[in-house]
């Protein structure tokens, strides 16, 4: 009696584990799927970036440069979807290299700052928005301030 009960319990646990694994596999986005969605979104994202409405942030995400631009529903959705995909990629990569998504996100932030066009807007760690073409000047000013202080 006891033996059959424990066998049944074991079966139930195994079934739950298999179903859980299947569900997780079905829900988890693969790197390829994320790339596909981001590739489809890229032209529109670039358009908004060129218009100065969306910018890259230091932590590898995108954001509306001014809060008023967030009133545009299309822009808002674009930002939300792009960030959801980026976050999914950062989580996947963090898992792969046994690190945190924040570290991957910072690395992406540095990469995207470098890849930005001169007219694109970048959000620095202190929350200020700077155009890429003025980034060096701003950093020099900050360095001078630090040296004086």
């Amino acid at each position: 009696m006891n033996g059959s009960r424990s066998r049944a319990l074991l079966k139930a646990v195994l079934c739950a584990a298999v179903l859980g694994a299947m569900a997780a596999a079905a829900c988890a986005d693969t790197r390829d799927e994320i790339i596909d969605r981001m590739a489809k979104r890229l032209p529109q994202l670039k358009k908004y970036k060129t218009e100065g409405k969306i910018g890259e942030t230091f932590n590898g995400l995108v954001e509306a440069v001014k809060s008023e631009y967030g009133k545009d529903k299309t822009l808002r959705k674009l930002v939300a979807n792009e960030n959801a995909d980026r976050k999914a990629f950062y989580a996947l990569t963090a898992e792969k290299f046994e690190t945190t998504p924040e570290i991957v996100a910072r690395s992406a932030g540095i990469r995207n700052f470098k890849a930005a066009e001169p007219e694109h807007w970048l959000k620095l760690k202190d929350g200020t928005w700077v155009q890429k073409k003025n980034l060096e000047e701003v950093r020099k000013r900050e360095d001078e301030k630090e040296q004086k202080g």
Partner: protein
């Protein structure tokens, strides 16, 4: 007299090893390995991130979505 001399010489001979002192200084080995591992991981992450965004750009160009600015349709997931 000779007896005292012998004792003094013997005592002097016995005292010689006491002059020989040795000191062992133990130096802890400098651990460099973890730093290399951390750097290696950061470089790999950097490469993975670069590959990912390059792949996004490449696929966008391949599928001809570059320049096509169709509005974003609804929330995903």
């Amino acid at each position: 007299m000779r007896h005292w001399l012998l004792v003094a010489v013997a005592a002097a001979l016995l005292a010689i090893p006491a002059c020989n002192t040795s000191h062992t200084v133990k130096i802890e080995p400098v651990e460099i390995k973890p730093i290399y591992i951390t750097l290696d991981v950061y470089i790999k992450i950097e490469r993975e991130v670069e590959d990912f965004f390059s792949e996004v750009e490449k696929r966008a160009a391949e599928t001809g979505t570059e320049g096509n600015t169709a509005p974003e349709s609804g929330e995903q997931k």
